[in-house]
Amino acid sequence: MIMITMNKIENNHRINNENYRHLFVIIESINNELIPASLEMLGEARRQMDHFNLKYKSNEKVIAIHLGHGIKDLSKDLISYGADAVIYADDPQLKYPINKIYTKIISQIVTDPLSLNEISPEYVSIFKKPRYMFFLADSIGRHLSSTVLAELDSGLASDINKLVISDLDIKHQHKTKGESIPYQKVLEMYRPDFSGFLWTTILCLDNKNPEIAKEFHPQACSIIPGAFQPCVKDTKRTGVISQFSPQFNEQDLKIKVLKQELVKNPVQFENYKIIVSFGRGIKEDPEANIKLVEKLAKILDAEIGISLPISKKIFHLSEKYDSIYITPNRVVGTSGRKVTPVIYIAIGISGATQHLDGMKDSDFIIAINPDENSPIKDVCDVFIKGRMEDVIPAIIEELSKRSGQLKEKEIQVNTYGKL
């Protein structure tokens, strides 16, 4: 056993930086419609590689990988949105993104030098693996990125919202055995942490320490939907579109999607002119305060949002309030949903950047908060300084005097059907 692992390490060591090329972007679509965040990811890939090629005087490509059935025609769009090349696999067995099947096919494509025949013939003889890979941090891409990188035996950072490619001197106990060693073309992957206040930079680095020498490529990440802008569509852009003919394993085809139903998210922020969100400021009496927010939202015909920390079920609530309000689909922010209502009312929310990025484009923003130094103050139009327990009843009282001017609406309960 030890002998085998020794070989594994030596073989790995023999691969060098020349063997990794290009940025591969894993595109997602549903019912032959591209998921918009795929184009955002492609846009960022384009910008990164333009910069890369300029900086390193090279000609590495943005290659979009797209699997599905009846998706061939979307390839042109991917070129228009920034891809240099598209490799697609179009097959009835790929209609649904079944993790096991997609993982194997993506892994085959990105490790097969012949995939590059038409795209970059100069690298076919040396190509081993992608240099970089991007996935989407949604329910499909999050799992797909995990399994593909497990198959490729390399590192993965999740939920990234900023990327920088640079040359770094690294001094690390394990990676470099404590010595300072230069690494080229490192993808710095920035990830906001759960509090929303910290940015962690993740790097995927080869082990250059001889005792544990091992290459780790591609450098890969999953990207938060909404974090980047797509390129402007340019139908004049040209690129190589190449087809990959997948081979399936009989056993894998026993995994079958029986049914897929598109459902609208039960929380439809888009249908409301006003969104009222609450955060940790409800803490003095969480349930009573949620009831206050609920009452205000009813009078204003507003949908209710929450901040990210609230979604972690940090308060003890009755099952009813917990199941209606403490759900991920109410989270406003880059870790949840981006909203742009006419009026956004933030109650007891201090304003982590990831929350602000999700609501700061609202037309008019009101914050209710006892702390005048909260970051939320910098993005709002009206800051009502006070405890929500005092301010909301005052607003409700004043609103009820003008009740003729607003209509009430029932708040919908959020449930998905059982099997």
């Binding site: 329910s139 799992h143 459902v263 079920k313 006419v342 993005v379 009206v382 009502i384 405890r387 005092d390």
Partner: protein, 289 residues
């Protein structure tokens, strides 16, 4: 046929008010924050319990973590009436990234229930501190098991060794998809936070209360069910676990710069009725526009 069921759990910071402590800058104060069985791990344990009640089975719960992580195993045992508890604890495992963690977990799963192959492995949706959601699918891949994520409901056909699951696939800003999928065992399920088991027949309720009683007794003596395994007992090469086995490193941690000041707020004191009245007038004007 008895199902071999595995559950992977994690000891996590307890984010509930009263247990959690934040630094003045809004970051988590890890030293002062208490730890407990993660919320998603608890749901995974519940799914395993339902499977045991409905179909019968032998449950092995495991966790990778420091010695104190055994309290997470105890909590999980109380929920699912676990038949055995495994703690993978070794200084060499510390600070592993998801790939190096998956390496330990998959090797541990192979040693569960005297080395029998598992039929179904449950994990949580993601950890509430790391939040990557990668460890589950990566462990599944290393095991060669079919991975089913975001599972909100499931049923099994034991004769044909097939599972049917309902998954909620959320695509932010686009659609949510409810998918029904069928797969041969073995499978690895990352259970969705929306999962809720229903014990709706008399027989399920009777079995459930019998197992819960047993679970309580077992959890009181959880140490008799507990095995602690280090890298040697797991036959793991130290070069492939922990920091040496992690492709990724945390390079730096910094405060996210404050968002640019985009507006100048009008400040209204909470007791200022006139100010509140004016704000309401503004709201009504904007809404009616």
């Amino acid at each position: 046929l008895t199902l071999n069921i595995a559950v992977l759990v994690k000891l996590e910071p307890d984010f509930s008010e009263g247990s959690v402590s934040y630094n003045p800058d809004g970051t988590l104060n890890r030293a002062e924050t208490k730890s407990k069985l993660g919320a998603h791990s608890a749901i995974a344990s519940l799914a395993a319990f339902y499977t045991k009640v409905k179909y019968g089975g032998y449950i092995s719960v495991s966790s990778m973590g420091p010695p104190m992580a055994e309290i997470a195993l105890q909590e999980a045992q109380l929920i699912c009436d676990a038949d055995e508890l495994h703690l993978y604890s070794d200084r060499l495992f510390a600070s592993a990234d998801t790939l190096a963690t998956a390496e330990v977990l998959q090797q541990g799963i192979k040693k569960m229930n005297t080395g029998k192959e598992m039929d179904i492995v449950f994990s949580g949706h993601r950890a509430s501190d790391g939040e990557t959601g990668q460890t589950g699918p990566q462990t599944a891949w290393k095991l060669g098991f079919t991975f089913l994520g975001n599972v909100i409901d499931f049923s099994m056909d034991l004769n044909n060794k097939v599972i049917r699951a309902k998954r909620l696939v959320a695509l932010p800003g686009f659609y949510d998809i409810v998918e029904e999928i069928q797969a041969p065992l073995p499978v690895f399920i990352a259970i969705d936070p929306l999962y809720k088991p229903i014990f709706d027949t008399i027989s399920l309720r009777l079995t459930s209360s019998r197992y819960l009683k047993e679970a309580k007794e077992r959890a009181e003596n959880y140490k008799t069910y507990l095995k602690v395994l280090d890298h040697k007992k797991l036959d793991l090469d130290p070069r492939f676990v922990g920091l040496p086995g992690s492709p990724t490193i945390v390079h730096k941690v910094e405060k996210i710069p404050k968002a640019r000041t985009t507006r100048t707020a009008e400040l209204i004191e909470g007791y200022d009725r006139e100010g509140i009245k004016n704000t309401i007038t503004k709201i009504l004007q904007l809404v009616q526009k």
